[in-house]
Symmetry: D3
Subunit: 291 residues, 6 copies
């Protein structure tokens, strides 16, 4: 019953650890913290939403996540107000989280006692398909998580799926030529300085949202949704229904025969309702047959 | 002289009314309120700026509206600070107005006594060529007037010319694929809730502007102008003059022979001034001949 | 069944009316709109919360209003962010509402057709015990509802209980010498201009709150609550219970024998709980006996 | 050498723990984290700046902390922009820190698995002389750490020295009658909800400052300084010098014989400089003799 | 006719100048620039509004300045949004202006070529009765024009009448014990650094106002008015009329016999109007006889 | 040694001057003020960074300016927060500066005594390759420096390289069709009014930056850098090194063999470091050979 006892282990527990950030979770702790995850995990315990679901999530919108999450009590998973590098490009991937705090020399000395932990320490741990999610507490000057070289590394070498930073980036011009989605508060020419990394792959706060390692990160021109692994399947399935609903609704609108309120949200006429139900059933079968 | 007495009738006066919003104007009241309108009207009394003027207004800019309106005492007809869905696409149409207030159950009970009045109640009343102008008092969360389905209905079925909302929209991704201009404060995934419709086709406030039903709404990447029907002809005519003025000014600039101050706003050299006056006369004749 | 038919009459319906604002309610309409009011009314139909309840409400805080209203579905009755003239002085009174919109000459001409309606038109209608509640839509420059002379009139001649303006006041120095509570967004030396009164004693919006004529207005250093008449008794009664609860809780804290969680919100020890219940019963009897 | 290995232990490591917040430090971990502390510690490892130094710090200003800290590399220990309950009352005490994050049900379930952790869990741990420092990430609605009852408990029963919350308080009216300093972003009537406690006595972020458990918290009408224990003595000593310097400078100004630049920052005339040096020496001896 | 030719001379024109800021006006230039000044001047050319008018201005409000200035075309002489050190204390004095810009080493080198120009350079030039008006372009961190020692010097040694800074002060606690009005954007513990003085007694911008050396500065809890010398007499005289008007208006209100609109702005009844005119005449004679 | 004495001459010194703004520098004064300029000058003394360097600067980013300037003490040369007309188009040119202040009639009378100075006065002085840099102190309404006609003149007739205005432009729609970069705070339909030009080609403040006439202005989608002439060569040379560094770094990243921290900022392996050093040397030779 070791797991029941030592749930969440801490930073620097393992003597040989190269990294020693303030907050660090062992695979067992991270597994415990995300125990509702129905999928496989990375060796470090992080949930690994399967590629097939990531692919299906690419067709989802913010609203389709909103349709499920608040109803399940997850009211703090959406955040917006970012600069969006590619507003026309959907971002989908698994959250790899990093937490910073304003630096102070005494904390710095403890955290970096066994080798300096930098943004590159975290970047070098990013896995293909990850979205790097960085809590820089809204700071922009001196809070540039990457410039174009590290952004290039993330996109091309690490094969990351995107970047979210509640802070800044630099080299916007260079970054604008690299094909990976990014969400940031501001671009600024300054360096990353006067901050300390206090956690890698721990729960972080991005504005009003709490993000856990392994959350599915979904981004479009509107904002960002951080979807817990245990709700991904349901959210994606429901999105299929929404898509068919919209498809049928617009078909009806196209006839020009109805007021919007006769058809939407749900057809008022029972005959139409029946027609819709059958359409939905058929189309869902087609869609899911394909997948 | 009934009109002089019963000017503005009120909500719910007609027992069979399906809608019973707090403020409602009879056709006589709306006619009285907009009595300077020189054009035809819709059956509900709303001024109907003719299609031919709407077409000419498509060539106008905010500055050309500004050139006329404040001088006539209309200093509160411009508003900006919106997200603009299609910055390169001019929006022109007749204002169809809707007013919301924060919900309270006692007001709600009275307003909805004879059937719930929703955003779709108003949307189903929109006429071809209308711009739906919605006063949601700047609220964004829970203040999404439409998602992509109702936006589709407005654009395709109702054949509206655009949307202005001092509030939010949802489904930005879906809306971005539908070809109708929209001006909104923010996109947000939440539903429209916790508000009450208090008026349809009554005067509304959009930021610092007062909008009346039937105003000509003009929008470009800069902002929005709400032009009273009685000033549309003069504004459009003056814009023709401005266009010729600019045409001639740039021709002169192209010669490279003049300082800007010798030519603009008005040529300093009397000979040039004469040349300009003749050019203006000729060009206006051509332009208006065409129309 | 006249009432069922002519619910809300409109502005300028009565030929002899001296005032002709855009929105105006007859006594019947205002009575219908506030039909849950359990108290007497003013001749114009406005609910008149009795003086005895106003007196008891003077002991209430924002939190004691919050304890009842959202639970009854009234989630939009609180607003803050004001400059508070006397932070140590509780404000309690009946809402007398005024609505302004940005001026436009065509609207102005209709509204003022039978004599100019100004801020003084409304001020001269204020009754003793009223709080003048003014919707100036957050505008401050050129939006000064009163200076020190009219503030003096309200306080001394009209015997008003206070002023709330989602806009500005002028003559702050002079006003600071007059003993009546006021809540305003800013003080500014400019005049009230470039706006039109569009309603007196109609529902108005003050920030995020909807205020109805006759609401009980409660103000302290924190903010403002607008309490519908039908909920005043329950709110005031519940406040008595809260006061006794706090009295007893602090007595227990004063013993130094308990952790806060053993006593508050409710005593954990059944014996203490019983002791508390008896104390509450006894004290409520005393308090209400007095009243 | 276990300590050298297991530096910072984590939440829920000890099976019998009543509290199980996400981040929790054992006494050994907190000692390691604050190992530059030259003073005694509380049983939980938190540094305990002696009462005598707290008393001397009462004479200090923000500027006297600024005079030492940035020069030692501590550039992120100041924060302002708070509502200050008692602007004329200096606040001095030892930081007791609490960290919140936006709630999510899966995190909540783990954190509260062994009994719900609430604001009262932390409040009941506060020691005499502590300042409760709460990271509510700037949230105000639904983020009211205490009302007047718990504020009373902190002030009277726990004998705390003050409250700092990067969030809200409620019951401002009641709190205004209790004699303990408080710094908060806003007062709001709502309850504390939709958040989770993720750490007690761990490093927290208050705006741009990083606060460690046991920091000396200094507050006046200007803002707040969080001084690491290891710099308290030097800061307080230096403040004595500043006070004498100011005393002498004003004496010289009082003579009316000098331009400000002849005396301040340092006297230009060598004879005056010598006079000052002697004065400083004598006065410091007097001051320190007294202490 | 040298004056007509060499109107405004510049910085560093006079070889022996101790100060060499970027912009500097000779007495002749400053005289030319303020040539509408009807009063005496300081040796440096700065207008010297007489003490007797300063004394009378002490009874004026922002509104009484507003009553005259915009009508004379002076629409940019008011500014607010300051922290006000003593909201109950009127500030009146002659503007002594200082302009800063963000520092750059090449500009610094030229400006300070003949000796470093600092805030103390300007402070040492302040005359009794002056209000030091400092353009620090709204910057607050590192933009603290004075701490308590220099504030003490200004108040006690220089006998200044007040301080206005579009920037910050430090040592707010110490300053709060010194009896001189101050208007500042923020208090902050940092030093004044990273800026350069670019002008002393030149026109400066304070927010939206343009201030000229020698303007009469008037401040109360509302904001600040900068009154050109040539309009001081008229403004002060008009304020007397306003005071009598208010006195009489309130007397009438006290009778309880009138609606506000019957008396204010001007009595409607011709008999009352006559009574008022006589009262005004008599009281003005009394007031001015006294002065 | 005349130059050492009469450094900065002033406005209106030359009797025949057509322009008489408050602040004006003679060629000698401007030369003195920018004496570190290593390049030729315009007849009015303004530094003229050579076209060849302007061409090379076109390849630079904000970060490459940041790499040099703060280290040389130039910490106030960057500003952002603008609307950017062409985010994909680099702007490079020589600063031609204009300063405005809020208008006041007495200042206006002096400044315009010899002929009205307007925005066109300055625009007519702009030289090919200049960027017009306008200090309108952040004002937007009534602060539109140009509309599309004058923008056309700047781009086509004056052959300017761009526009920066800490204020507004008008005719955004028309301007969007003219191919010249522009940085502005807002577009607004109002005219330029209620302001006075107080200097042409004097040091100006654009937000937090101090700009001198002749600075190299560099703009991209991120923001603006104002580079003093004396640092242009070094900045451009260093940018070459950065470009090669990035080129090589990405080559290494492309191999997929390295963690980012092994290569960037500098290769950790001495053999790689050597390889890099040789690559850099070779590439710089190639690049500079070409130029």
């Amino acid at each position: 019953m070791r797991n029941a006892i030592v749930l969440l282990a801490a930073a620097m527990m393992i003597p040989a650890a190269a990294n020693a950030q303030l907050y660090k979770l062992t695979p067992e702790q991270l597994t415990e913290l995300t125990k509702q995850n129905p999928f496989e995990r990375f060796p470090d315990g992080r949930p690994k939403v399967p590629d097939s679901l990531i692919e299906r999530a690419r067709g989802m919108s913010m609203e389709e996540a909103f349709a499920i999450l608040p109803g399940k009590g997850f009211r703090n998973q959406y955040e917006d107000g970012f600069q969006v590098l590619y507003p026309k490009k959907k971002m989908v991937g698994r959250a790899f989280t990093v937490q910073f705090m304003p630096a102070r020399p005494d904390l710095d000395a403890v955290v970096n006692a066994k080798g300096r932990i930098t943004n590159q320490t975290a970047i070098d741990m990013v896995q293909p398909g990850d979205v790097l999610v960085v809590d820089l507490f809204g700071k922009v000057t001196d809070a540039t998580i990457v410039g174009d070289n590290l952004f290039y590394y993330l996109a091309k070498t690490a094969k990351a799926s995107g970047l979210v930073v509640d802070g800044a980036i630099r080299d916007l011009e260079g970054i604008s030529e690299i094909d990976m989605p990014a969400y940031y508060r501001k671009a600024h020419p300054s360096f990353l300085t006067n901050v300390t990394i206090t956690g890698i792959n721990v729960p972080v706060r991005i504005g009003n949202a709490t993000v856990m390692p392994g959350d599915l990160v979904l981004g479009d021109s509107e904002g960002l949704y951080f979807i817990p692994p245990q709700l991904v399947q349901q959210t994606v399935d429901n999105a299929d229904t929404v898509h068919v609903h919209d498809e049928w609704t617009r078909k009806m609108f196209d006839t020009g025969k109805y007021k919007s309120s006769e058809i939407y949200g749900s057809p008022k006429d029972p005959a139409l309702k029946k027609e819709y139900d059958e359409y939905l059933k058929k189309r869902l079968a087609e869609i899911r047959g394909k997948k």
